[in-house]
């Protein structure tokens, strides 16, 4: 490999530009809808090196600006090109705590890959930065035990409590532990990971990858307490005043599902996306022979919404055995918010997308089981606050569709348990915690917050970044005691 690498390094730009993007190899779509295994298979070493060659190591690397946590993208890609995969992973870890996860779930087409110089050229597509990130992280997991991890340092006596074990909390915990603090994570559910364990399905993010990250934290000496609902079992105030924690980071997410508030929503067979996904993911209801939590299956499933959550729900439905699983979305294709790759994968799997459709009423049978949904057709009007054209109903366009199950995936609200049980911490008008964007400082001394509980539903990388930034601010605070 050594010789080959030298050759590659002297490739000139023209030759680099000739290389076509290496698509992510994936399980065949007919086969994969029959299982819950990961859809994307990952690059082989040769794919990764070839793809890495496409990066021209720009003088002004726009990709870095596009990355919410400013990973030195060209640097890690060039390390891959040289065959130094562990070095590449290490480079990514300078900025990201969860590379194997972000490589899989980041909306790269809206971030680094959106602005990549190569992608902006005519007839060309951006460097597959996400795929390369994933490759480096997976390689590290397989070959590079303890690549960048300093174990079990107890440099300080001070203890920090992390509330919620989603990406923000896990990132904050890892950083603080590396800095030498004692760290305890408190998680309400019986498993850690937040949305990554209860929401994002196995076929997109295998649980083993999350567990790998969690194991690293445990090996580092982070204490993890599951089954603790902060605000109920212990409050934030008690963590600070009675339990001996010097600082608290709140990363509890935006986990309360929104409903449509239309008639019939109470019927059996109408699910929030969180319930539908939690049964299957967290409770593993897809394997009812082994696990006890039940799940129904029928013929027709309709999912309302067009974000990642909606894609996850509809594709989960297909794998559960719904023969007709579709998306109804009140806006048009252009406004869909899901990752591009998920939309492509869903289409390959035979998911039908119906646009400009809004549900108005669910209809049940005598046992209050869902049978039909009445919808109206929409057209796009003037732009709304989000800048997207507002869908308005077309009069007289109502129609009724037969369905066995409906999933509502239209977003989430703040979960009030922590905000409402913590004294002296200001909230915004929607109930989210007010925290400084850079440091995560809330209005309560010693309490920091980040991720969806501050921003509202956002992304894994932003939550992770917020956890990392807060860790720096916590260190600062603990060293100076200045608020």
């Amino acid at each position: 490999m050594e010789n080959k690498n030298k050759e590659q390094l002297i490739l000139d730009t023209k030759e680099r530009l000739k290389i076509k993007r290496h698509d992510m190899p994936a399980q065949n779509s007919a086969k994969r809808v029959q299982n819950f295994k990961e859809v994307s298979i990952g690059y082989l070493i040769e794919d990764a090196i070839e793809e890495a060659k496409r990066c021209i190591d720009c003088k002004v690397p726009y990709c870095i600006q596009g990355c919410p946590v400013s990973i030195d993208i060209p640097a890690f890609i060039k390390l891959i090109e040289k065959g130094d995969f562990l070095g590449a992973a290490k480079k990514i870890r300078e900025k990201s705590s969860l590379p194997a996860i972000c490589g899989r779930v980041c909306p790269q087409e809206d971030q680094c890959e959106k602005v990549c110089t190569i992608g902006r050229r005519k007839d060309s597509t951006s460097v597959a930065i996400g795929n390369l990130e994933r490759f480096a992280a997976d390689y590290e997991a397989e070959h590079g035990k303890n690549n960048n991890i300093s174990y079990g340092k107890n440099l300080y006596d001070k203890k920090i409590a992390i509330v919620g074990a989603g990406p923000s909390g896990l990132a904050a915990a890892g950083e603080l532990r590396q800095k030498g603090y004692r760290v305890s994570i408190f998680e309400a559910l019986h498993e850690v990971g937040g949305v990554l364990i209860y929401g994002v399905p196995e076929f997109r993010l295998p649980k083993s990858i999350l567990l790998r990250e969690v194991q690293i934290l445990k090996d580092m000496g982070v204490e993890i307490f599951t089954n603790v609902v902060i605000g109920k079992t212990i409050t934030v105030d008690e963590l600070l005043n009675e339990k001996g924690y010097s600082a608290v980071f709140i990363g509890t997410g935006a986990g309360t599902p929104k409903f449509l508030n239309i008639p019939g929503e109470e019927l059996n067979g109408v699910y929030s996306a969180n319930e539908f996904l939690t049964r299957v993911n967290l409770m593993r209801a897809y394997d009812m022979n082994e696990y006890d939590t039940p799940m129904k299956c029928g013929k027709t499933l309709v999912v309302f919404g067009a974000g990642n959550t909606a894609m996850d729900a509809v594709r989960t439905g297909l794998r559960l055995g719904y023969s007709d699983a579709r998306i109804f979305y009140r806006r048009s294709r252009n406004e869909m918010t899901a990752r591009l790759e998920e939309i492509h994968h869903a289409e390959q799997e035979g998911i039908r997308f119906d646009f400009l459709i809004n549900p108005v009423r669910f209809i049940g049978d005598e046992k209050q089981n869902l049978k039909q949904v009445e919808c109206e057709r929409m057209e796009l009007g003037e732009p709304d606050e989000s800048g997207r054209r507002r869908p308005v109903p077309i009069k007289g366009s109502e129609f009724i569709a037969d369905v066995d199950a409906a999933v509502i995936a239209i977003g989430t609200n703040v979960n009030p348990i922590v905000p409402s049980s913590t004294s002296g911490m200001d909230l915004n008008k929607w109930g989210y915690i007010i925290a400084d964007e850079k440091t995560g400082k809330t209005t309560k001394k010693g309490v920091f917050a980040g991720g969806d509980i501050v921003t509202g539903a956002a992304t894994v990388i932003l939550a992770m970044g917020a956890g990392k930034n807060a860790a720096d601010a916590i260190e600062q605070y603990l060293k100076t005691n200045i608020w």
Binding site: K232, P257, N268, Y271, D292, N415, P416
Partner: protein, 279 residues
């Protein structure tokens, strides 16, 4: 971690469990519940906290053995551990000095109403409790309820103990014949019982609180499985309840939602019985 200290059968298909749970015991208030899992592949089931011993750091629950999970639970012995236990969940019951209150319990609902009656009595209320069962030998917690109340009245369907009839018959007597000035009724038990009480007190305009038990998963407001209709509005029983104003509750919807997984639950229980008990 979550050790069973005691598991005792107290009648046909009902067990009382004492569980080591110091964190929960310190915090638990009447009306709150826990969620437990018996084993690592099990489901999460909600159970009301029936008694709290802060000093010993343990809680008591009363569980009716119904399906697979409660069956597995009933097989645990002192010293065994639960896979998971979380709580206390839900909003505690409103405890104030209201005056005269009636606490009604049916079936495992007696266990749920017990700490509420106790707290109401401590708060200075005149607590009249009514508990009911099909037969005398199925009646739970009679002594505990007696000491938690100023007066205890009992109804059995077959008349084998106390008044023959339903708890609502006794309630009617209190309201109509004895003309008691009842400020508040708390009723916990099977849905038909709660609905009957609610229908009756509505006529007399007596504020009535019921504790709802829809199917739950997380118990933290994350999934929405536990939603109930209260005055036409969607509420999550796990975080907005489980106590609600009975006169606003859509009981029919609650019953239907509770039954949604009946077929799956039955077949899971059947499989379990065949595999492990050969009967």
């Amino acid at each position: 971690m979550y050790e069973i200290i005691e598991n005792k059968s107290i009648g046909e298909g009902v067990n009382v469990y004492k569980i080591n749970a110091p964190d929960i015991a310190v915090k638990a208030l009447p009306g709150q519940f826990i969620i437990l899992r018996v084993h690592k592949k099990g489901e999460r089931i909600p159970i009301t906290i029936a008694d709290i011993d802060k000093n010993a750091g343990c809680i008591t629950i009363l569980v009716q053995t119904l399906g697979k999970t409660t069956h597995l639970l009933s097989e645990l012995k002192a010293g065994d551990e639960l896979a998971d236990l979380v709580g206390p969940l839900g909003i505690p019951s409103e405890i104030e000095n209201f005056g005269t209150v009636v606490c009604i319990g049916g079936g495992f609902g007696i266990a749920a109403v017990h700490p509420i009656a106790k707290a109401l009595k401590n708060a200075g209320n005149d607590v009249i409790s009514i508990i009911g069962a099909r037969r005398k030998d199925l009646l739970l917690m009679e002594n505990e309820m007696r000491s938690a109340s100023s007066g205890l009245l009992i109804a059995t369907d077959d008349g084998s103990y106390g008044t023959k009839g339903f708890v609502t018959d006794i309630l009617k007597r209190l309201i109509v014949d004895d003309k008691k000035n009842i400020i508040r009724v708390i009723a916990i038990g099977p849905v038909p019982m709660m609905k009957a009480v609610s229908d009756f007190t509505k006529k007399y305009n007596i504020k009535t609180i019921v504790s709802l038990n829809p199917i739950m998963i997380d118990g933290t407001g994350m999934c929405g499985a536990c939603r109930v209709l209260i005055g036409g509005q969607t509420k999550f029983a796990c975080v907005d309840g489980p106590d609600f104003d009975a006169h606003q509750v859509d009981f029919e919807n609650l019953v239907n939602r509770q039954k949604f997984y009946e077929d799956e639950e039955k077949s899971s229980y059947e499989c379990h019985r065949k595999e492990h008990h050969n009967f």
